[in-house]
Symmetry: D2
Subunit: 361 residues, 4 copies
């Protein structure tokens, strides 16, 4: 995906390794493996009660595209070895279709599938996204653009923006910026687990410092590309920009954001639009939300069919998080970073004035 | 947009004409201008109280790509002349930034803008989308794939699925399939207009007959491409697939759709997923919803700034619908058709078995 | 084609019109229809003995993307009406396959074809290329980049670089910059016509002022994209860069271009490479050549088969140039301009230093 | 590159590894590492006098996309470790610009470069192309499409088609199919080496079994894409299709290929066109030639400048082949295979009849 900042991810849950190649990263960005690792560690399963007890080191290796500590402008290949996979765990699921998973659709599309741990549709596929997102976020930071994603709700438990504490995002097992809500959510999840069940939730991502003017007016709208990028994450079923689903009940008079002057600059008095007007960034905070479905792998019995067309009852075993929201937070942030960076790069050539600054001075 | 079925739209609200070029339409599809016109007429402003009194003929001309009544496989160029535009209406808005519109962001991106009627960010830009969507829908119908979009709600007024009547979609001024709800919505809109204000709403689109297997597992997921296609429509601020935002409060046990057998075929007992699993169609009905913001052009006074950086109060004049939802219904349907057809075309080469049917027999 | 400067052409020889949509042209370029018409007039059939006696006005209309005399950054749609076409002329060729033409391959690919005047494979398809090339050339001129294409040879008659006179390109019927060679070529062509036969030739294009650094190092090499762009012109069968086919007999010692200093700048002492090293422009003149096959439509009898699989003898009638080289000169120049501009636009975001000039100052 | 069969290569001569990710390979193709290795071994430096004495194992690892011996339809990641690189060899060249190399253009484009062994512009970059080409060739073979590339000439020594012996391609150090010519070429190269100089040559590639109908009529012509693919190989300076540069001196009567019937099928009596008419394959043998420049790394002294802008004289040391043609043969074959396969995949959806075979039966 991407027009200039292009990524190609590869790898299955139980293959040799997973990775990503990033092409089109501008030359001259300082980059080292720790920059990537910090991001990858945020999607690693933890040791808490609400996360899978698997130990995945997920150490990234940069194989190309960096020289003397800087990006060279050529493709950056990054790889994470698979170390903790036990194919034996999954042999049983080879023959039937797990509800809520892509087993059936893969078989219908390709004629067969790598059934080990979900194969290509495993959550481990997001390793490549996060590695590419880490680079994008580092590049964006050089232009004063900063992203912050967090869990907004898990099941019925929502954060209160009054209690927003950014450091809590990395410290709570829920990735919530509200420690009280996080405790409630943990209790809720413990109940889910007791019931052999799972939960969903909402992730919010805010992006500050985006200059006005990014995004194109028709098909390559910035919000359209953000929607695609975020909806392409496995369990996402809805994407909102700004006030999102609320707008359908607003009036124009309450939904429009008035412009006004502040310190000689044009700003908006409110931000219902979530920072994007007509598909183009307006200079205010970009806000989006992703709605995540409950983990489909649950331990309670489920009805399904097998490849022979027989109706059966199954009970999924193994290691599964009761909620994927906390680990998906950094994935949403990464996909947003990738999209914003690509828009910034594409935008470089959108007017003659820009080109004259580059080629005539 | 599009990988195989590619469209390029062009044209401004007050330019000479608007149009679209469709490249990659398979050869041998029977097609005539009436097929396109029928779709375009659905987005035409009507004579009802809730729609703009403009008369736009919007007669489409097919300029290429058809021979002896069939598509030739080469680009199909379609054009609609602009006939009813009065640039004088818009001279006033040249100098300031209308809240909720793309005036400001265009100026920031490109350095200046065609301010006449919104220029490229006008709703008239969707003419090209609908023309391309009409072709896509006709091609899909040959494979038993049918789309149906309708207004699900306007402001607080929602349809009842118990009263669903498909013919009402084309007959009510709201494009609602529930005539009672439509009457209520018309009253609601009349009140909005009296208050010099506007309203938003929700459009739902269902797609039947999509074979299992369309869409790709990672970035080119079918739902991701649907989300982008629909979010790229001017006023859309949220997109949902299947149960959408509801999933975050579900449990795995209630959100998973069990598989079962019916007449020797694998089907699902429920369809919370909205017909897509792991980014690939699962053979059940595809369901999506678009949340549309209220028309930003309202007649009540608004605060904004002008190009000289002065804070001013404006009152927009001219002809503006109090709600754009009814006219956007066919646009959502078109964007969905375009996306599904492209996935169907891309899918043709996804496995050796397919290729052997084409090249070895 | 194109990554940022994208064009989509459409139209058949005997359809209503032909045209092109250019997307990604930077905003703020002064442009009027005359800029395009000047280029189109260069591919127009003339009144000379060596060109078809058809009268094609080929007047271009710009339908979008220009406001107050400048490009707006949104798609530029351009159209030329077909006025001089007589479908009756071509009814005979519907049933058989002309040697050297695309009749047979179209039928095999698409199942049928628009046989009128070659349909989509007509030379008239290049109208869209030339219109898009005219814009590209105008944009490039603002950066001091200038293209010049001319006929290098027709059949056995080659120009002498000693007699190079740029004005002769537009003044001779052969588009040769050497008036003596042009006279000889005209005689040669007169002989071809007497023999009911046709001729080929070579077009050379030189591009001055291209800054060092355009093009990407692997698949999107500048010479690779030039080769594709030029080979995509109907009758081209070979493309050379710099010394081209001669290099296979050179030695490294004679083919390498030494670097040296001049006025404090690095230049090359020779230019065997034709201005491109490792796929990237080196700041010296870019040189390419296209080898054009003889017009396949000849009046002498030819053997072929018809759609019923019968072997027949045909004699093509109608209006056909004995050589297409002179009219293809501006097409080669246009394709080169389009390719160079796209590389220039893509290059804008290739390094952090560029982006800092645009976003941090 | 590629529309459906997409490849992304990565890696530098002296980085950790080089590789390629192939996306869009159809599912169900039997594939194992040996299939790739066989191709890679053809580009490996040998032990003969005319090739570099480096020992590069270049063992490929497939990291993803294969399950139970078959492609799964998801990305295939392949990697070759760099084992034999000595960065010390190259420290000297960091400061100056080698004539005929991309040193200068990389610096101008990106601001700096990985100078070790040419970095990204090294011939080792072709490892990824050949790995992807091996898969493409294997897939094509299932449809009866076979490619054969060979050295046609080195310096002044050309093969005689009368002595063509296919097995000689893999057995001679020159990759020539004519053992006598190969001996002469070896002598010629020995003389070049004695003179501290290098040589160029011509590679021809023929492709049999391509069905009529592949390629698109305008920008994505099959010959245009072949030209780009082949011209994107480092040292190629010209590409010819069929009779290539000869056509400019032909007449229509001698250059046109008459159609005739054979065994109830339409074939051509001659093949000046090289198997492509109007950009679409015509069912006859596809023929192309690549003209390769002499190795720019020569041991005789050369004039150049260094990064401080000083004119200097250099003498390149290290290990360099006097000609790269023999090792580039498999690269040309690979790029052709990739291009043909992509055209075959894209073609699957070009007409309704094809789609009906896939979706309605």
């Amino acid at each position: 995906m991407g027009i200039i900042y292009q990524l190609t991810t590869w790898g299955e849950s139980h293959g040799t390794a997973l990775g990503v190649v990033v092409d089109g990263c501008p030359a001259g960005l300082h980059l080292k493996e720790e920059d990537i690792q910090t991001y990858l560690d945020r999607r690693k399963p933890g040791q808490t009660k609400i996360a899978t007890p698997r130990k995945e080191a997920d150490n990234v290796q940069i194989l190309s595209g960096i020289f003397e500590g800087k990006t060279t402008g050529t493709p950056i290949s990054m790889l994470v070895q698979n170390t903790s996979q036990h194919s034996a765990d999954y042999s049983e699921i080879a023959g039937y279709y797990r509800p809520g998973h892509a087993d059936y659709t893969f078989d219908r599309k390709y004629g067969f599938r790598d059934y080990r741990g979900g194969g290509r549709s495993s959550g481990r596929e997001t390793i490549g996204r996060v590695a590419a997102g880490a680079i994008a976020a580092k590049a964006l930071a050089e232009f004063g653009i900063h992203l912050c994603a967090y869990t907004k709700s898990i099941g019925p438990v929502s954060i209160s923006m009054d209690k927003f504490e950014q450091t809590a995002i990395l410290e709570t097992p829920t990735a919530m910026p509200d420690r009280d809500a996080s405790s409630l959510a943990e209790k809720y999840l413990a109940d889910c687990m007791k019931a052999y069940d799972s939960a969903g939730g909402v992730i919010e991502c805010v992006i500050d410092g985006v200059p006005a003017g990014l995004g194109d007016p028709v098909f390559e709208k910035l919000d359209a590309n953000l929607a695609k990028a975020v909806m392409s994450i496995g369990a996402v079923k809805a994407v909102e920009i700004g006030d999102g689903i609320e707008v359908s009940r607003h009036h124009g008079s309450t939904n429009n954001d008035p412009f006004r002057m502040e310190d000689g600059r044009i700003i908006k008095s409110s931000n219902h639009a979530g920072g994007i007007l007509g598909g183009i960034s307006d200079g205010s905070r970009i806000i989006l939300r992703a709605h995540i479905k409950p983990t489909p792998s649950i331990f309670s019995p489920q009805e399904t069919v097998n490849q022979n067309g027989e109706e059966i009852e199954i009970a999924i075993k193994g290691r599964h998080d009761p909620v994927i929201v906390p680990r998906a937070v950094v994935v949403v942030e990464s996909m947003a970073a990738i999209t914003i960076l690509d828009a910034l790069l594409v935008n470089a050539s959108c007017k003659m004035d820009n080109l004259k600054k580059l080629y005539l001075l």
